[in-house]
Amino acid sequence: MTGKRPIKFRILELFLDGEEHWNYEIVPKIQKEYNMKGNYGRDSINFDIIELASGGMLKDVEQKVDEEGIYKKGFLLHKYIITDFGRVRGSDACIRYV
C-alpha cells in the first residue's frame, strides 16, 4: 500500500517502531517510495519532518554536523524519535492500514 497515503502519514508510520531515526535515513526512503527525486523532493520531505517535529509529534533528540556531505554538507543532521502525542496521532492515522 506504500506510495498511496499522505507523506506525513508514511513518515509517522516509519517512526511508529519507537526507534530513533536520522533524517538522512528517512528522507531517501520516502523519496524512493514516492518517486520524488532531486533536491526539491528531498527538501520538501525534510520540511515535512520539521513540521511534524514542531507540531510536537516527533522529538529532535540528537544533532550532528554533516561534515562528509552524506545528506547536505555543512548543514545539521537531525535524529528524531516519536513522542506520545505523535504515537496517538500516528496511530489514529496509520494503524488501521498496517
Binding site: 498511496k4 497515503r5 499522505p6 507523506i7 506525513k8 502519514f9 509517522l12 514516492y34 526539491y40 515535512d48 520539521i50 513540521e51 511534524l52 514542531s54 507540531g55 510536537g56 509529534m57 522529538k59 544533532q63 550532528k64 554536523v65 555543512g74 548543514f75 545539521l76 513522542t83 506520545d84 502525542f85 496521532r89 500516528g90 489514529d92 492515522a93
Partner: protein, 348 residues
C-alpha cells in the same frame, strides 16, 4: 561552525521563516479588502442588491447578495490554489490526503464551514453594510478565539506575554465595536447586520484556525488548504446557492451575469489575494503555532486601512484607528517572544 551555533542558527531560520509567511499573509489579506469592497458596486451584484431589497428588504438582500459574492470568492480562490498546487507538483499528495477522510479531510471540511459561511460571509456583510476598514479591523479579534481554543483543545502553550497581547487585542475590539455603536446611536440608525458580520468574521476565523490545526499537523499545508476550499465550494455551490434559489431568490440569473470582464477581473483579483493569504497563513502555523501565526497575520488590519486609504481615499473613524492600533500592538506583544521558548510549541 560548531554544533551549538549551527543549532541556534537553524532554529532561528525556522522561526523567521514562519514569521515571514505570516507577514505575507497579512499583506495579501489586507489587499483582499480592495476587491472585496469594490465588488459590491459592480454589475450584477449592485443590481441584485437593489432588486432583492425591493421585495425582501435591505437586510435580507444584503445577506443573499453577500452569499453569492462569497460563493464566487470561493470559486476563484480554488482556481488560484489549483494553479499553486500544480506549480508545486502536489496533485498526487492532494489525492492521497483527500482519501484520508477520518484523520484529515474531516477537519478541513469542518474548518471550511467556519471559514466560509461564517467568517468570509460575515466579512462581506460588514464590507457591504459598514465599510472595508470596519470589516478588516473587526476581524482582528480572531486570534483571541483561536488561541484560547487551541489552548483548551490541544494544549498549545500560551505564554504570559501572549496572554498580555490577547488582553490588549480585546481592548482594541471593545473600542472598535463599542466606539462604532456609540457614534451611531447618536444618529439613531445602527447597521446591526454589519456589526454581526464583523463578529462572525472574528469568531469564524478563530475557530477555523484551531480546527484546521488538527488536520494540518498530519498533512501538508498547501494540500490541506485546497481541501478546505474544496469544502467551501461544495457548501456554497451545492448546498447554499441552490437552497436560496429554491426559496425564490434569482441566484442563477445573477450568477451567470457575473461573467463579464470587469467583474471577473475583480473576482479573480480577490481569489488570488485571498488564496495566497491562506497559503501563507497555513504555512506559518506548523512553524510558529496557530496563536502566533494568527497574531502576525493580524497586521493585515493595518495593511487594509493603508490600502483602502491609498486606493479609495477613505479615512476611517477614529474608533477604528485607535482600536486597530491596539489590536496591532497586541499582535506585536504576542509575537516578540524569546525564540528559545518556541522550540517546541506543544507541551509533551
Amino acid at each position: 561552525m560548531d554544533l551549538k551555533a549551527l543549532k541556534t542558527q537553524e532554529s532561528k531560520r525556522k522561526i523567521s521563516k514562519g514569521y515571514m509567511w505570516a507577514l505575507f499573509c497579512a499583506v495579501f489579506w489586507g489587499i483582499w479588502y480592495l476587491p472585496g469592497t469594490v465588488v459590491w458596486v459592480l454589475n450584477p451584484f449592485d443590481e441584485m442588491y437593489k432588486i432583492i431589497a425591493g421585495t425582501s428588504g435591505d437586510a435580507e438582500s444584503l445577506v443573499v447578495t453577500a452569499a453569492l459574492i462569497t460563493a464566487f470568492n470561493a470559486l476563484t480562490v480554488m482556481l488560484a490554489l489549483m494553479l499553486w498546487n500544480g506549480v508545486l507538483g502536489k496533485f498526487g499528495e492532494l489525492g492521497r490526503t483527500l482519501k484520508e477522510f477520518n484523520p484529515c479531510s474531516k477537519w478541513f471540511f469542518l474548518a471550511s464551514i467556519f471559514g466560509g459561511p461564517i467568517a468570509i460571509l460575515g466579512s462581506f456583510m460588514a464590507m457591504g453594510f459598514i465599510g472595508g476598514a470596519f470589516a478588516a479591523v473587526a476581524a482582528l479579534l480572531y486570534p483571541v478565539i483561536g488561541s484560547v481554543l487551541a489552548y483548551y483543545w490541544y494544549g498549545e502553550k500560551i505564554s504570559k506575554r501572549a496572554a498580555t497581547g490577547i488582553i490588549i487585542i480585546i481592548l482594541g475590539g471593545i473600542t472598535i465595536f463599542g466606539g462604532g455603536v456609540m457614534t451611531e446611536l447618536a444618529t439613531g440608525k445602527i447597521p446591526w447586520i454589519g456589526y454581526l458580520g464583523g463578529l462572525m468574521a472574528a469568531a469564524g476565523w478563530g475557530i477555523e484556525g484551531a480546527i484546521a490545526g488538527k488536520g494540518l499537523d498530519i498533512s501538508e499545508p498547501d494540500v490541506g488548504l485546497t481541501l478546505r476550499f474544496l469544502g467551501e465550494n461544495i457548501i456554497w455551490w451545492i448546498i447554499i446557492v441552490p437552497i436560496l434559489a429554491i426559496v425564490g431568490f434569482p441566484m442563477y440569473s445573477f450568477a451567470l451575469q457575473a461573467f463579464e470582464p470587469l467583474t471577473l477581473l475583480v473576482l479573480i483579483f480577490a481569489g488570488i489575494t485571498f488564496g495566497f493569504c491562506y497559503v501563507c497563513w497555513y504555512k506559518s502555523f506548523p512553524l510558529i503555532g496557530v496563536g502566533r501565526g494568527q497574531g502576525i497575520g493580524n497586521l493585515y488590519g493595518l495593511f487594509a486601512i493603508i490600502f483602502i486609504f491609498l486606493f479609495f481615499g477613505e479615512i476611517p473613524e477614529w474608533t477604528i484607528l485607535v482600536g486597530g492600533t491596539l489590536c496591532v500592538i497586541g499582535s506585536f506583544t504576542m509575537f516578540t517572544e524569546e525564540t528559545s521558548a518556541l522550540e517546541t510549541l506543544r507541551g509533551e
